[in-house]
Symmetry: C2
Subunit: 365 residues, 2 copies
């Protein structure tokens, strides 16, 4: 599809954020192989699906994948069609603001100004045509306005795990002003947002010009802005990379939401036409899994035989799981690790991983 | 200790029954490695402990282990100190009556008449001195009386998984007549037995002269008696073994309890001085396992980390089992097989194994 429809003036780059390691799918996701690299649903890994969608928006040469040293090889293996120089490993993880500053700088090494589309690497997106349509609208807007544009999702429930956008008046066809960028709310507040009607979920998908982002960083995160400006001034690329390698750790560890989006006044939102899900837990994953006649959800390759077992989520890498009299449980086996929990407590998996770390059981993280 | 104290006249042989494959400890016990070969409790396998106790009663040369072809090698490995010719593999499994008939015949190949002590191979026995004392009393009785002598256990609960002995008057010091040999009762009947005071559990431990047993077989199981008599008449040992190999399948498939003990009138019982347990399920095993501070029982080598987890029975061969919010569950992993069930349903493990067989999943049996 390329970017011909988006902007006559500016090339379109897609930046996929594939660093970081969530723990909510532990033990299927591990420190060495986080969620984005797994086939949690469907036939391809979540990252591979994200890259496939990115290539509906731009060419492989303009698709950048931001990750960490630890994951460089696995990314190359999963998306061999992306040029190796586009797989950028951050020297250390400093959260999303420095990561996207670095991405903007890497794009500007190639072209003075560009449209930069930011995609998280671990989302489920159903209607890809609608995805492209929405992104084209946002990219068009960003090409002609010095805005930080985001994609908003119509809330289907009072989720407390997402940030919200308080939306104002229309600024164009399918584009709205964002009055306020709101952090993850309490449940009463989330309920209020959902019933309010003018709130959208923050999808974590952003669209802006590299110049606009770097300008916002200078304004709202001056320390980071100064670091980026210093690096950009080094003309010799290998010197620049060496300095970056050395100094990246000095960047403030802060997310793009906290660091920029909540402070900026030039924020616009394009409501999504597509179905979106960040699939943040075993329970959330359930709806994408095949079911047996007792409403048990089965992921991965293992076999399940149940007596009087229903509404369980079962993911075993190999072998057999035999259950008697179980209901509403999550059962996950990966290698020599086994997790068993009631489905309504799947959010505590994170706590379990913390407990294992506190016990010094690194081999199981 | 030898048999000097037991009988001046008759040598003492101990026959350990180590064939058959229970399924109640599946998947830790498997078709290829049933309960008696596992270290379910303590440091030694259950068979090894049984043989150790047998050698408090007789010499290795007079200790016979009855098993099946499938288990011949594993028995040799576990008890290398028992002469190989004393490990006797039944041609096929025909239940305990033919097995003990064969054992009696094998003993009579070596000596005309002997005291034969029969020990199941999968029991837990705590006080070994008391065990020896009780067995010596029974062997002494059997040496001087043509009785089928059994060891009775004082019931601690109305168990429906055991047979009961309805005991009559004393026939000697610590020896009583058995009025009736009763099959596994219903719960109301079991309660009646326990409150009655004159009922004991049938331990499955028997003591008799080989001549007395073979006489009882001729009387109560004439078909089996005739087969045994025919084989005994063949003077050439290799011809006898060949005929046995050929004809053993013709023996009636029946237990010693059904086939002999329930019919015989010459039954005596010596109440046990020792603690006895046939440890017939995961729940029954629990009391022999170490506990953590939340009353979880831990068997085998794996590691358990729980959040809000209590009173579970956990046996994992290796690796980690992480549990959140579990109570009163049995969790067993052995190789690539995992079993999860509420503890009060552990008797249904047998049903699970039957289901797997019906599904053709032989690799998991």
């Amino acid at each position: 599809m390329g970017d011909a429809n988006i902007s006559q003036h500016l090339p379109v780059y897609v930046v996929i954020m594939a660093g970081g390691a969530g723990t909510r799918f532990w033990p299927q996701s591990r420190l060495a192989k986080p969620k984005q690299f797994l086939n949690l649903w469907g036939e391809e890994s979540i990252l591979a699906a994200t890259v496939r969608r990115a290539l509906l928006l731009t060419s492989p040469e303009r698709c950048l994948i931001m990750t960490e040293e630890l994951y460089g090889d696995i990314v190359k293996e999963i998306v061999p069609h992306i040029p190796a120089e586009n797989i950028i490993c951050e020297p250390v993880n400093r959260d999303t603001a420095p990561c996207l500053g670095l991405a903007a700088m890497k794009i500007q090494e190639r072209c003075e100004n560009a449209i930069m589309i930011v995609l998280p690497s671990d989302h489920y997106i159903e209607d890809e045509e609608a995805f492209v349509r929405t992104l084209q609208r946002a990219a068009n807007w960003a090409a002609h306005h010095p805005d930080l544009t985001t994609i908003g999702i119509k809330p289907s429930a009072p989720q407390t795990a997402y940030g919200y956008l308080d939306c104002g008046k229309a600024r164009g066809k399918g584009v709205y002003e964002v009055k306020k960028f709101l952090e993850k709310p309490s449940l009463p507040l989330a309920k209020q947002f959902v019933s309010g009607g003018n709130y959208l979920w923050n999808s974590g998908i952003f669209i802006w010009q590299t110049n606009v982002l770097l300008g916002a960083m200078k304004e709202h995160l001056p320390e980071l802005g100064a670091l980026l400006a210093n690096w950009q001034q080094i003309e010799n690329k290998s010197q620049r990379d060496a300095m970056l390698q050395l100094e990246y750790v000095l960047a403030p560890k802060i997310s793009i939401d906290y660091g920029i989006m909540e402070k900026a006044i030039n924020v616009a939102v394009v409501p999504a036409d597509f179905c979106w899900d960040d699939v943040g837990s075993w329970q959330a994953l359930e709806k994408y899994l095949p079911k047996d006649e007792k409403a048990n959800s089965l992921a991965d390759n293992g076999r399940h035989v149940g007596i009087d077992t229903k509404h369980c989520i079962i993911s075993v890498d190999t072998g057999l799981v035999a259950t008697i009299g179980l209901e509403d449980m999550v059962i996950v086996r990966q290698g020599d690790i086994l997790l068993i929990a009631p489905r309504e407590r799947d959010q505590e998996v994170k706590k379990m991983v913390q407990k294992l770390a506190a016990l010094g059981l690194e081999e199981y993280l």
